[in-house]
């Protein structure tokens, strides 16, 4: 359960977005989204480098596809 301070942070940020030009808030959003994906990509690339990692990767992929199909 998230506490009240979490929603307050959401509200403060939304107010900033509302009152500032896109050029001031968009880079922060882009950095967060890109960094999240890049970190995940790096992790999967690391897994690919070892046999054990490749097994884990195979399990993750199978699990993911199976989840989507059912």
């Amino acid at each position: 359960m998230r506490d009240k301070s979490h929603m307050e942070a959401v509200e403060r940020w939304a107010e900033f977005v509302r009152t500032h030009p896109r050029s001031e808030w968009k880079p922060a959003v882009d950095a967060l989204i890109n960094a999240t994906y890049e970190k995940a990509d790096e992790f999967y690339l690391r897994l690919e480098q070892t046999e054990k990692g490749r097994e884990i990767l195979k399990r993750l992929m199978e699990d993911r596809i199976s989840d989507i199909k059912h």
Binding site: M1, R2, H6, M7, V10, E11, W13, A14, E15, V17, R18, R22, W25, K26, A28, V29, D30, L32, I33, N34, T36, Y37, E38, A40, D41, Y44, M61, R64, I65, I68, K69
Partner: protein, 190 residues
């Protein structure tokens, strides 16, 4: 591979590339999390939810082939007949960039009821997002998040959108949508 370019992050680039193809074959709307994220909400998502108009198999086949040519593949199946079956059964299908089964992914569903039809009729493009993409209206997104989805993440998305559009939101319309959600969606779930 450089996935986010210039003013476009990874999700923006994925959505733009996908919707460019979609636009050639179907009326569509992007709904839910990506609407809030495109309006500056500081979070990310693995899937972009999209609703498309119902279409005959032959038209869908052309859409699927165009997606294939433009570097997207469906995770559930490569057979277009199977993919169309998913949609006909009111399930979603998921497309990702070729060469991976990893996100971001586009989750697509057919219009399923009167609420979706109204969402489609009242779709909008939002200058603030800087994206040439059709979205469902802010009122629809707020109503779904507050009345149906209700997770902390969804409630925060709704709050974010309420603040961004605080002088423009049609509260009466939100309440009407919530009524429809209770009748058409929540009643069916009980």
């Amino acid at each position: 591979m450089e996935r986010g370019v210039g003013d476009r992050n990874i999700l923006d680039a994925f959505a733009i590339d996908f919707c460019k193809v979609l636009e050639r074959h179907a009326k569509y709307i992007v709904v839910s999390g990506f609407v809030a994220i495109s309006h500056g909400r500081r979070r990310t998502t693995e899937d972009i939810d999209t609703i498309i108009e119902k279409m005959p198999f032959e038209i869908f086949k052309k859409l699927h082939e165009d997606l294939d040519i433009n570097g997207f593949h469906c995770i559930q199946s490569s057979k277009v007949e199977d993919i169309y079956d998913y949609l006909e059964r009111k399930d979603s299908v998921r497309y990702v960039r070729k060469g991976t089964v990893l996100p971001p992914e586009m989750e697509i569903k057919f219009v399923k009821d009167e609420i979706d039809e109204i969402q489609m009729r009242t779709r909008k493009k939002f200058a603030l997002t800087g994206l040439d993409i059709w979205f469902s209206s802010i009122e629809f997104n707020i109503a779904f998040k507050e009345e149906l989805l209700k997770s902390p993440k969804d409630m925060e998305d709704a709050r974010h959108l309420r603040i961004i559009y605080k002088d423009e939101i049609d509260e009466h319309f939100i309440n009407e949508i919530k009524k429809m959600i209770r009748i058409l969606r929540l009643r069916n779930e009980r």
